[in-house]
Amino acid sequence: MAVMNIIQAVNSALMNEMERDERVVVLGEDVGKFGGVFRATQGLQARFGEARVFDTPLAEAGIIGTAIGMALYGLKPVPEIQFADFIFPAFDQIVNELAKYRYRSGGQFGAPVVIRTPYGGGIKGGHYHSQSPEALFIHTPGIKVVVPSNPYDAKGLLISCIRGDDPVLFMEPKRVYRAARGEVPETAFTVPLGEAKVTRAGKDVTLLGWGSMWWECDKAAKAAEERGWDVELLDLRSLMPLDVDSIERSVKKTGRVVVVHEAPRTCGFGAELSALVAERWIEYLEAPIVRVTGYDTPFPYTLENEYLPDPNKILAAIEKVMTF
């Protein structure tokens, strides 16, 4: 096994799958010769040629729109959207076309397009290189939403997505693109969608996080330990489909829940998680659920550290549910 960061793990997944299945193609802005602005597609064009790995004109609606056409014809396109903030010109193609194509054709056609995109803050990216728009897509039936937090999951989940038959938004936590490192097999393997991972068992509080926020949660969980609070941390990994069973097990054990995400609070995915837990297992709850999230403002530049959830804010939330 090699030690990889998330970029390398993504690259390795693409290498493996392009090797394995000639229907897999990679397209997007600057993904070809340059290998992507984060270099996740580096070396793919040299290995698989310009027909299967290519730069497109600068138009996200065109990237996704043509990827849909390719998928209808039987290819497995893996387009890259350079930053999640730039996915919105393709929003109509994703929400009205990609996500609904199978349903509206009565199952005749499928369009298994796997959209990779780096998301999230903490890199001094301001409004437009920081957003976390997962909730918009989770609210869109027909597309899956997957967010790895580490290299192993990044590779295993991406391969599952590419081998699957559904459209997926695969969101990569760019803040920890290079910082998150770990052992990853060089050969292909899969991590199934729809399974959360309990990365830390605990009996007092259930902490729900994903992507780059998982790292903040993990720090907070360690700090909580010093305070004598035993945190169970779930890395949700696949937000749609969601692993409701794992959440249920943990909530029934701890009776206390803290949810963490970067996106603005109102109508973020945290709202769904909070609602779901309280609706189904309210009688197990020892304290109100607390959400630690971005605020209801656009993503700032200078004050991004104040804006973002961090171990201190998460710890404060843990304290709140522990001392209710």
Binding site: V25, A51, R52, T56, P57, A59, A61, G62, I64, G65, T66, A67, I68, G69, M70, A71, L72, Y73, G74, L75, P77, P89, D92, Q93, N96, E97, K100, Y101, R102, Y103, R104, S105, G106, G107, Q108, F109, G110, P141, G142, K144, G164, D165, D166, G194, M240, P241, L242, V244, D245
Partner: protein, 365 residues
Amino acid sequence: MAIEPFQILDEEGRARPDLAPDLPGEDHRRLFEVLLCTRRLDERMLLLQRQGRIGFYLGCTGEEAVAVASAYALRPSDWIFPCYREHGAVLWRGMPLGLFVAQCYGSRDDITKGRQMPIHYAWREANVASVSSPVATQIPHATGMAMAARLRGSEDVALVFFGEGSSSGGEFHVGVNFAGVFKAPVVFVCRNNGWAISTPASRQSAAESYAVRAVAYGIQGELVDGNDILAMVVKVREAAARGRRGEGPTLIEARTYRMGAHSSSDDPKAYRDPQEPERMKARDPLVRYRKYLAARGLWTEAWEAEIEERFAREVSEAIARTEKAGPPPLESLFEDVYAEPTPELVRQRQELAAQLGARRKAAAA
């Protein structure tokens, strides 16, 4: 770029001998038959709509030649990405009337499972993509499919229809531009019928034509009389051949005219001079083609009557069958969101089934 649309048949149905394609008599007769049936289908379905037997309809009267000629000029393996006014293209490809009618009813025998409004068909078997209401979205799909065909070493070509109004949207630009850059074998058919609901074509663009936009993409452009079925056949054939030769896409502006309302929900009296469709009758593609065929001995009144009669009977049978079919099963509501339903979808399906079950029980009690 020609300023006058390319034309072969004049309004009297006389063909330019130097330009007329040499089609077999059988093809001519089949083309006429599909034109005619498309027209009759419109009339019948609109009637059903007015009777409240289907919820909505959108016709193509006066524009049939664009769709029928385009479908004819392709190979069956080529893909068609319809807008929503190309019933003639699916009839050409042989869509069983039962499928068409069942889709309009959204009944249990609808292969799209009653998921969309009438005329939003999808027919994978015949390489006909799924109709979507949001306009222009299908344009980049066609480009992508054509790019994929090249990549796979296939000779398949994509043909995509859209209205002149739809060409104002961003997806027109990105779809055609990608095709230009990647030399994708796509035939872009801009069906300029003069109107986008109540908005005249003059409000969509200040350019002299829609065909001229080809220049902006470095591709071939053609301005064609879309009510001249022979002109359309010639130009779509050329375009498809160009694509197959690896010479890239073609943008065809097919000048036609929307004779009727935009749809069954629309009333053009509020915005359009009723004289305008009257004047346009002289250009009716069906009438012109009939004259042409008659002059060549390929048409008789009896033959037309026979087609009409058979077709009317088939439509009636299809309607009768579908009206007996009933709605799709409840479970179908939750199918096809994903290839496999998620656990939550299963849960929601059970929740609804239980609720309806309880309600039925309560009603019975």
